[in-house]
Amino acid sequence: MSGNITTAGASEALAAVGVTLEFQGVQALDDVSFSIRDGEICALIGPNGAGKSSLLNVLNGIYQPSEGFLRAHGRVLRGARPQLTAKLGIARTFQHLGLFPGMTVLENVLTGRSLRHRSHWLAQALGLPAARRDEVRQIRSAEAVIHFLGIDAWRDVPVGELSYGVQKKVDLARALASEPSILLLDEPMAGLNKLDKADMAQLIRKINQEHQVTVVIIEHDIGVVMGLSDHIIVLDHGQKIGDGSPAQVRANPAVIEAYLGAGGTESSADTHESRPEPAVAL
């Protein structure tokens, strides 16, 4: 398993090597290793409580693994903080919207440009011409992203007033505004209706293809996952139980077992809302 993981391939975007995460004795992730290639759409799936969001939080630097390390574009990361991973081109969206509710759509997306600023805060305070030019540049870039995602109509509306579906897109727009090379999406389609889901899936594919962004996505809708991803990683109880193409994962007995098990045992932390469909649907 580790042959292609301990050494970075030329086209590797992001990898985890022996990542273990513990919270006061509870093991959220247990020796998880994988490698995600540049330019692919990789889905993280598994029953609730499998450790998907924890893993995404590790990849983004919000959690520090107790053992193991990450590698982004060949660079080994130990104890990286969100600010550093952001600098390395990793952007993310949040499962429970991490937007800034009091700010407008444009302002929210502008915060995504934080690392692209070229002017010092003192220059901004003094309103120097260079700072103003920079400001205009940032606004243009943010507007381009807003247009790309088709949310122009809400440009100046505070996001707290928007529908959930639009907020999900604003979250995506803010992440995209940083011009990331790797995009981590935590359940971008949760709570969306079928039409919005299809719309979002199309956008994700467009982002992946037109902007050459590697996408790591947590998604419960197996139908969407199978249609969208090039690569699927399956987690269960903090361990990796499957890793491969959609066809390989579909045929993996351990995955089928886990999904049937998750559906059949009472001890599972799963809830009906987010439980993946049973293995027969795989």
Partner: protein, 293 residues
């Protein structure tokens, strides 16, 4: 009528001075959700440092620059020694920390510069002047002008610059702000520096009025009703709250004082704040939080 207007304007001008102190609280509360109990100590520290430097023979402009630099240094120290170790702790923990910080800063100020009362002469005349037939204190007028200017500069900075945007992002959701690459520590230093500079201006104006002494740190008590009325998260709220308190207490003293005894202005603001708490607990401009249950 003229008398009423004079009282009203005098009250409004005094209110601007309350706003000035309240804004220091708002800045820090907005950015970190912390009620900074040490704001009063910062006012005292700044004023005492400025006066003592002048007593040492420094020219006023140099004293001002050195004191301002010290306030920025203080912000850096607070971030490193207090905020960073306590990151992600509940607000009450940070509040307790600022309580301790208040004593440390007060102690440091008095250990450095002594405890005697200093007079502070800013060179602003305190002679009353006639303006459109009304008798108005020229000191109050200048102080209000300075405070107004400061408020405008701060509002513009926080509304229209990228740093201001980052500050609001940190205030809304620190984790999301970090994830888009905003350097949260830098934002804290900037905010505490701004609060320190506001404390400096407040310290000088209040110091010139009351003398620079320990009780200067108690000026902040008048900022509390201002914050309750205006809301803890709004600079505009701090201004409106200050004006309401200033005008309210002076009018109450003059007109109600005759009926129920003098000295009303000392407690009237708190009664007003109490009424606001009953009717509009988030204040006039404060952010009302909706919690999902």
């Amino acid at each position: 009528m003229e008398f009423f207007l004079e009282v009203l304007i005098g009250g409004l001008l005094a209110g601007v001075m309350y706003s000035l102190v309240a804004i220091g609280f708002v800045l820090i509360y907005k950015a970190s959700g912390v009620f900074n109990f040490a704001q009063g100590a910062m006012v005292l520290f700044a004023a005492l440092t400025y006066v003592s430097l002048i007593d040492q023979g420094l020219p006023p402009w140099l004293s001002l620059v050195v004191t301002a630099a010290l306030m920025v240094l203080l912000a850096v120290a607070v971030e490193a020694a207090v905020l960073r170790p306590l990151v992600n702790r509940p607000p009450i923990v940070l509040f307790m920390a600022t309580l301790g910080l208040a004593y440390v800063i007060e102690g440091a100020a008095q250990a450095l510069w002594g405890t005697q009362v200093h007079g502070l002469e800013l060179g602003i005349s305190d002679a009353p002047m006639f303006l459109g037939g009304l008798l108005i204190s020229s000191f109050d007028l200048v102080a209000a002008g300075i405070a107004g200017l400061l408020v405008i500069v701060l509002s513009l900075f926080f509304s229209y610059t990228q740093t201001g945007l980052a500050l609001r992002a940190v205030a809304d959701d620190p984790l999301a702000a970090q994830s888009v690459g905003i350097r949260i520590r830098r934002i804290w230093v900037i905010v505490w520096s701004a609060a320190g500079l506001v404390a400096l201006v407040a310290g000088l104006l209040w110091g010139a009025r009351l003398g620079v002494q320990f009780s200067l740190s108690l000026v902040v008590l008048k900022a509390l009703p201002v914050l309750i009325i205006g809301g803890f998260t709004s600079i505009t709220g701090a201004i409106v709250g200050g004006l309401l308190i200033g005008a309210g207490e002076k009018l109450a003293e003059v007109y109600l004082g005759q009926l129920i005894g003098n000295g009303i202005e000392n407690w009237f603001p708190y009664v007003l704040a109490l009424l606001f708490l009953l009717v509009r607990p988030a204040g006039l401009f404060g952010q009302r939080t909706i919690e999902r249950v």
